[in-house]
Amino acid sequence: MSTAVSPSNTALVSVTRQGKAVWLTILVLLVIAPFAGLYPVFLMNALCFAIFACAFNLLLGFTGLLSFGHAAFMGSAAYVTGWLVRSAGWPPELGVLAGTLAAGVLGLLVGLVAIRRQGIYFAMVTLAMAQMIYFICLQVPFTGGEDGLQGVPRGNLLGFIPLNNDLGMYFLVLALFVGVFLGIMRIVHSPYGQVLKAIRENEPRAISLGYDVDRYKLLAFVLSTTLAGFAGSLKTLVLGFATLSDVHWSLSGEVVLMTLLGGMGTFAGPVVGAFTIVGLQNFLADRVGSWVTVIIGAIFVFCVIAFRKGIVGELLAWQQRRRAG
């Protein structure tokens, strides 16, 4: 996306003592959450979506590419993992690994086709390819079509650590989430990340400086889809099924909203956005039925009109203003 969409420039969270204190606090809160009475399955679901949103943000916020078909990668990995663990009897860690790799390969194939286009055309190509993936998932027998791939057991991690206990599984998912989160921070702060930032801010300039821009974008795309796949694979193990909802384009729209609402181009943004949206859906679905869609739509509208930096982005900007003023 052009510079008009650039996220807040105060986005780079420092790795100072201050910064570390902040993240530790959040981590502690997450660790005690299930003991404070929150339903572990809900938390795990939210964490998986947080990983998905962070992966998406890597592409949108840090590289400036809007993919409108990202759910296809999450869902494909979900199906692959689900089938391998349930029907082929693979252990969970290998199943997740395979699913993640599958998403990466798929990302490479789609990326090779899509990268050559920009802006709205890039988004449309990703959407088109995602629809084709949806169709394949619908038709291929192993996915179970409308009925979904059900009854995926959690199995034993590394052969001996049982994952059936929700609490135990939660800490595993939390640890993995932290790993992904730190990984993304590492990527963004690296020299490679700096080039991505340059591409996002001013692509022609980056080209004129001699960077093979397409290669960098493609790599970002593949990284993003791989991590999205990781989120999908984990989710299959958590919930025990993979269905067409995981590859449907409305999920692609939701992840855009999570990132937008939380704050594009920030680190905490997608996490906040994911938790908010998943929490909202969970809380409201029983109480207000179809109004959930209305509220989600209203949030979209609000964010685009008045809240483009998102929750975290606005907070950071406000903080900057206070520091300056």
Partner: protein, 404 residues
């Protein structure tokens, strides 16, 4: 510390999100008996079960006095939108955090299968009512699942053989592309072939399709005598409408393999007269049914479908068993239910057998002509009764590992 404020904001958001998820949380099963129903509340199956089905359950609770052994009985309801993942996630959440003791599965086979799996994992009782797939009591049978109302085998045996006997030998299927449709088509194909008929072809349509014209054209070009509708609810209504519109009914006869009184009401007798259908109950079949149905009509302004009557029956039988056993322990209650005959407005001398089927009579009915109908909702005449085990999968045919 400014960044700590940021952290606080994040934490608050997550805490809020968490609170949202548990606002009505962690009520243990101890002091309340909670019946849960997850069904299609707003989609193509919402008329045949839906909110009216929830009402039927409430009627059952009221008729049992509202409390059992001193504990209040409550019902919670949710909409699965015909999505198996929504149903399974809700079922799991209810078992884990809402103290739901017994889960009723409304319409849709896909969701029933997914809920059955969750119930098996959590070792809680699941009564599948509207979901028709015979897989629930065959390949995917479970000790915790009871299939109460009807299944695809019973439907096929009823309508399938009746139509073939009446001369419809060559069939083409219009099938809803999910568990239910596929299973119904399979079971009907078996019955048609066994009765000496042939299946010329089939086409699958997406669930809740908006336009059936191209599928019907394919059916027509197959030159089969009978168009078997292996779908239900709104899909069946639309298929029949489109078939009339495109003149398909002039060259083929329609066989609705799963039809409810609400469908007939929607389409009118002119479009449906003479059609055969198999059902487990009819509001006008005897005095007891009529009396109960009039009570239902007062509340809901329409006559109950067989699914709604089954909702009532399943709840009554469950609560009776809980009363006798003195607790909601799933294993004890199930054992009690399997020992007891089902005798209520829905079924006479029904019983739950080893594969989970609640065996009871099924009826082959024919839709009346407008002239024959004497009052609103008076749509059927009962042509044949399949008594007890006659209608269902036999032990020899069964693929259930628990029932050998």
């Amino acid at each position: 510390m400014k960044l700590t404020k940021l952290a606080a904001a994040c934490a608050l958001t997550m805490a809020a999100a968490g609170i949202f998820s548990n606002a009505a949380q962690a009520q243990s099963s101890g002091d309340v008996i909670r019946v849960g129903i997850i069904t299609d509340m707003s989609g193509l199956y919402s008329d045949i079960d839906g909110p009216a089905g929830v009402e039927a359950i409430k009627m059952a609770i009221a008729d049992m006095g509202g409390t059992i052994n001193g504990k209040k009985v409550e019902v919670v309801a949710a909409d699965h939108q015909n999505k198996p993942d929504v149903a399974a996630a809700k079922a799991r959440e209810w078992f884990d955090t809402q103290g739901v003791d017994m889960l009723i599965g409304g319409t849709s086979s896909g969701t029933s299968l997914s809920m059955s799996k969750v119930a098996l994992e959590k070792k809680k009782l699941f009564i599948a009512i509207g979901g028709a797939t015979s897989a629930l009591t065959n390949e995917q049978c479970s000790p915790y699942t009871v299939h109460w109302a009807y299944d695809t085998v019973a439907l096929a045996k009823g309508t399938g053989s009746a139509v073939v006997k009446a001369g419809g030998k060559s069939w083409f299927f219009l099938t809803a592309d999910y568990a239910f449709g596929t299973q119904l088509q399979n079971d009907a194909t078996n019955v048609v072939k066994a009765a000496g008929g042939t299946v010329v072809g089939s086409v699958r349509h997406p669930l809740s399709a908006s336009d059936f014209s191209s599928f019907l054209l394919q059916a027509q070009s197959s030159k089969a005598q009978i168009l078997g509708l292996a779908n239900a609810g709104g899909d069946t209504i639309n298929s029949i409408k489109a078939a009339n519109e495109f003149g398909i009914t002039k060259t083929m006869k329609l066989a609705g393999l799963l039809m409810f009184i609400n469908d007939i009401h929607s389409l009118g007798l002119n479009a449906t007269q003479g059609m055969y259908l198999t059902d487990s109950w009819y509001w006008n079949k005897d005095a007891e049914a009529r009396a109960w149905s009039r009570k239902f009509f007062e509340k809901m302004k329409r006559m109950p479908s067989s699914i709604q009557a089954a909702d009532y029956s399943a709840t009554i039988q469950y609560l009776k068993a809980v009363k006798v056993v003195g607790s909601t322990d799933p294993d004890k209650v199930l054992a009690q239910m399997k020992k007891t005959k089902v005798n209520d407005v829905y079924a006479k001398d029904g019983f739950i057998r080893g594969d989970g089927t609640m065996v009871h009579d099924m009826y082959l009915m024919q839709v009346k002509t407008p002239a024959e109908s004497t009052e609103p909702w008076d749509y059927y005449k009962v042509m044949q009764t399949f008594k007890g085990e006659e209608a269902w999968t036999t032990k020899a045919e069964s693929k259930c590992a628990l029932w050998k």
